[in-house]
């Protein structure tokens, strides 16, 4: 099974100047924990619920004084859609990440998560 078979094709993105409070509002409403950060049409990084927990809440910030640019993670760790699910699993575990953007020709075409991997596990049980 390949990454393209399990990835989600709906990927939320954000401008890097978005206020962290707005990014948080979006994540809570959509139950989506990751936003791809786009600058001039190019994906430059990723901001996740984990970034907000670690770099905002646990440091005593409120989020209103910060933008996505202050907390996003770059460069993103990515994978191609023809890679295997096993490769995606190894990358996630090695790098301790939950979201793995799927990139083709410098465009993000999907995102694989631990829940995507769980889908593959369930298919085989």
């Amino acid at each position: 099974m390949k990454v393209k078979d399990i990835m989600s094709r709906i990927v939320a993105s954000s401008d890097r100047y978005l206020r962290v409070t707005e990014a948080a509002k979006f994540m809570a409403r959509s139950r989506s924990r990751a936003l791809i950060v786009i600058a001039e049409g190019v994906p430059i990084g990723i901001v996740t619920a984990g970034d907000i927990m670690r770099k905002v809440v646990s440091r005593g910030f409120t989020g209103a004084e910060l933008t996505v640019e202050d907390i996003y993670t770059e460069p993103m760790i990515t994978i191609g859609q023809e890679a295997t699910v096993e490769e995606a699993r190894e990358i996630m575990l090695k790098n301790r990440i939950r979201h793995l953007p799927v990139v083709e020709d410098s465009r993000v075409v999907g995102i694989a998560t631990k829940m995507s991997l769980l889908y593959k596990v369930k298919q085989e049980l």
Binding site: A49, V57, A64, M92, L93, L118
Partner: protein, 135 residues
């Protein structure tokens, strides 16, 4: 420090699974509910939890025929309902977890997810709470 307690923002409708259930049932329940966290119970009492992470860290080939009890995390990481948000966030960061059991009197009364805290950031509720404390 935010004056809010965990009890005020936790999710009371958390998902449960029996320790004797199959891993396939657990995976189905997680995928249907789009939740990567189940509280594992034995005779209605919480004895651990099972997350998507617990499952995918195991070699996929080794999971056939396995039950929840074989794969679950047996360490119960929890906070009391009266715990502060700040203390709870620090514990979650230290343990590298995205959800935590909320207990009172030995019983699980809810689960707090990272998104419950992210929601407060979005609503600026933490912000108002901090301002109130500073006045």
């Amino acid at each position: 420090m935010s004056p809010l307690s965990v009890r005020e923002i936790m999710d009371r409708d958390f998902l449960k699974i029996e320790r004797s259930d199959t891993l396939k049932e657990a995976a189905s329940r997680m995928l249907e509910a789009e939740s990567d966290f189940l509280v594992v119970v034995l005779d209605e009492r919480a004895i651990g939890f099972l997350s998507a992470h617990d499952i995918i860290t195991k070699s996929f080939d080794s999971l056939e025929g396995k039950r929840v009890a074989d794969v679950m995390s047996k360490e119960i990481i929890s906070v009391d309902g009266s715990a502060s948000i700040d203390k709870t966030v620090n514990l979650m960061m230290e343990k590298h977890i995205h959800h935590i059991l909320v207990m009172e009197g030995g019983d699980v009364i809810g689960v707090l997810y990272d998104l419950d805290i992210i929601k407060l950031v979005g609503e600026k509720t933490l912000f108002r709470a901090k301002e109130a404390r500073e006045i």
